[in-house]
Amino acid sequence: MEKRVTFRGWLLPLLLIAPQVIISAVFFFYPAGQAIWQSLFIPDPFGLSSQFVGLGNFEFLLTDKFYRASFVTTAVFSILVTLCSMIPALFLAVLADRLIKGSGVYRTLLIWPYAVAPAVAGVLWLFMFNTRVGVVSWYLGQLGYDWNHVLNGNEAMGLVVVASAWGRISYNFLFFFAALQAVPRSVIEAAAIDGAHFWRRFFTIVLPLLSPTTFFLLVVNIVYAFFETFGVIHTITSGGPQQATTILVYKVFSDGFVGQDLGSSSAQSVILLIVVGLLTVVQFKYIEKRVHY
């Protein structure tokens, strides 16, 4: 029987949740409401006048085949970023978990990249892969591979994925590492005595026990890839070459803050909000069923 604590009356509970409600209202509901309202207009940049266009902004976007293509680009980008940031993180966490000595040093070193802001990470990676002075592109050149992300869309995509995923590996590592520590030793030892080798133990015991963490990280990383990566894109490719790395959130940023088209930018953020909302619902409805708590 679950133990429940109930409050008498309404005032105290309301007061207790008030800070959270107020913060959500001011920093989330109000701006989101503004975005929905503005998405119905084409305003001029200075806010001197605006034309009511109803759903015109949405029509303009959805009939644009380049905008529709950027959904695919975003999907590819998000999946790649999520995979490239979660798999290495899990691998590193498993290795660090097995260390007996010096795991503190490894942990600290592995967490460092998380402290680097996305835009700065973008510049770092861009510098390494710079087609003229980049260290990595120079070595690739020595190996006979002509690196040119300025014209090659796949290389550009690879570069922004790596730059976006890099800092996230640290974040994911932290969670995986903590979750691994929570896996009961006794179960693993029992399996080891029964003769299960390391990878067998990993896949049949550890991984299922990690599933709540994995699921949480999946949701969080997809949200990250959708919303927080425009700094990396802006510094490395500006969405190019052609539209190879124009993801939805980058277009929101560039149309709004470079192109001064606030109506279209608002409409795009509304669409993005719906997409991420749907994605999260899908994740909770279908994937969460397979999570063991």
Partner: protein, 437 residues
């Protein structure tokens, strides 16, 4: 009692009024310059502040061109706008359409009584920022135009006479082939591809880039960059890219690093590249006029400018505008302009400043620094070569960049790419039209 209080107040006001007027009026000036250019702007402002005691100009750097424009717009929305805002040429149509947000420069000058002669400014520079009936809306500040930079050492190393005539693209075409054959890995590189190879290309050949005199005639304009001349030029460049004779380095001026390091032989870039190239290049270089296609359009007509102008924003006091007028008049004065032109490689904005520079012997000591001036002023600008005035142009340039990349990578023909650029750009122009109806 009450009466004395009121008269006391009135007296205090009367006494303090002249005091307030004698205190210095502050004028905010937001710009986009850092580094050497930032220092030069600061020096200009300090000189102005020292030259009189009525006004203090306060300069602040607000990021790159786009960021400065954004900062100005955001400040205007919040009612905290500066008096003077630097806006790059691409933002001209946006500013022009914002009638309630700006105070035209001709009006500021007329009201302030400061010295102002619109005819003193170089036509091709002034034309970009004036209305169709000749009223100057913003003050040209830093203007440049594309030229051809030549690495003479690289030419020689590839066995090509560095004095070869490079005035036409036909001749350049042959030279590129020779350079390639001579072992040069980067015969041609460019900066600002849309500005140089489409916008300036069109003006230089006197073919339209957009209808309605490139947008000067109204916001119901359409792109015409998929014309025969432009497509032929881009096809040739696409072929050079395919043959490894033209190396693409990026949408902005990334190619400058390659050229300054001596990696490339020919470089199409702004005349304002002078400061960087002259200080960094460890090779013998030349400035030549931008090449044109012999027999296409009316080439060579004149090239157009890039750079920024100063806009005066509305919502301030008359007394402050008087100071703005004084400051703008100071900036246009011959000595200030001549010094700016010689220090930066930007064009002089007045005819007198150009003459003063010539008289001082600067052009003789620094050969090639007058190429841009000659190229811009050679002919009276036509409807196709006055400049561009297109809304959402920052975004349209982005679209053009994308489509050009499709040509360089061989994914599209020049015709396909430009047709697509027109279709996508026109959609944005229609949006701009409806936002500014």
């Amino acid at each position: 009692m009450k009466k004395t209080l009121i008269s006391g107040l009135a007296l205090a006001t009367a006494l303090s009024a002249p005091l307030a007027a004698s205190a210095q009026t502050e004028i905010q000036f937001w710009h986009a310059f850092t580094g050497r250019l930032g220092e030069l702007v600061k020096a200009q402002v300090e000189e102005f502040n020292a030259s009189q005691s009525d006004y203090t100009v306060v300069e602040s750097h607000k990021g790159n061109y786009s960021e400065t424009l954004n900062a100005g717009i955001a400040a205007f929305r919040a009612g905290e706008q500066p008096h003077i805002l630097m806006v790059f040429e691409v933002g001209t149509a946006t500013m022009m359409a914002a009638e309630g947000a700006i105070k035209p420069v001709y009006e500021v000058m007329a009201e302030s009584g400061a010295e102002f002669d619109p005819d003193a400014y170089i036509g091709a520079v002034k034309g970009y920022y004036t209305t169709t009936d000749g009223q100057m809306l913003s003050l040209p500040f830093n203007s440049s135009t594309p030229v051809l930079w030549v690495n003479r050492d690289a030419m020689e190393a590839a066995g090509v006479d560095p004095d070869t005539d490079l005035s036409t693209w036909q001749k350049v075409d042959a030279v590129l082939e020779q350079l390639k054959a001579g072992g040069e890995e980067c015969p041609l590189v460019t900066a600002w591809q849309s500005w140089i190879h489409l916008e300036n290309f069109s003006a230089y050949h006197d073919v339209p880039f957009a209808s309605k005199d490139n947008g000067f005639g109204g916001v119901d304009t359409e792109l015409m960059l998929n014309g025969e001349a432009q497509v032929a030029h881009l096809s040739a460049m696409g072929q050079w890219a395919k043959d490894g004779e033209f190396i693409y380095t990026g949408r902005r001026n990334e190619g400058g690093a390659n050229f300054r390091a001596g990696d490339c032989a020919l470089f199409t870039e702004s005349s304002a590249g002078y400061a960087g190239i002259s200080s960094e290049a460890e090779f013998d270089f030349d400035v030549r006029p931008l090449p044109y296609w012999e027999g296409v359009g009316n080439a060579p007509q004149n090239t157009i400018i890039g750079g920024a102008s100063l806009w005066v924003l509305s919502g301030h006091d008359d007394a402050e505008y008087k100071g703005v007028g004084e400051f703008l008049s100071f900036l246009s004065s011959t000595d200030v302009q001549a010094k700016w032109h010689q220090d930066t490689g930007y064009l002089p904005i007045t005819v007198a400043a150009g003459d003063a520079t010539r008289a001082s012997g600067f052009y003789d000591e620094n050969p090639g620094t007058d190429v841009a001036v000659i190229q811009m002023t050679a002919n009276q600008p036509t409807g196709n070569s006055k400049g561009l005035r297109l809304g959402s142009f920052d975004q349209i340039r982005g679209i053009i960049d994308e489509e050009l990349e499709a040509i360089w990578s061989g994914d599209k023909t020049a015709q396909e790419a430009m047709d697509s650029a027109k279709e996508r750009g026109d959609a944005l122009l229609r949006r701009f039209e409806s936002a500014n109806r």
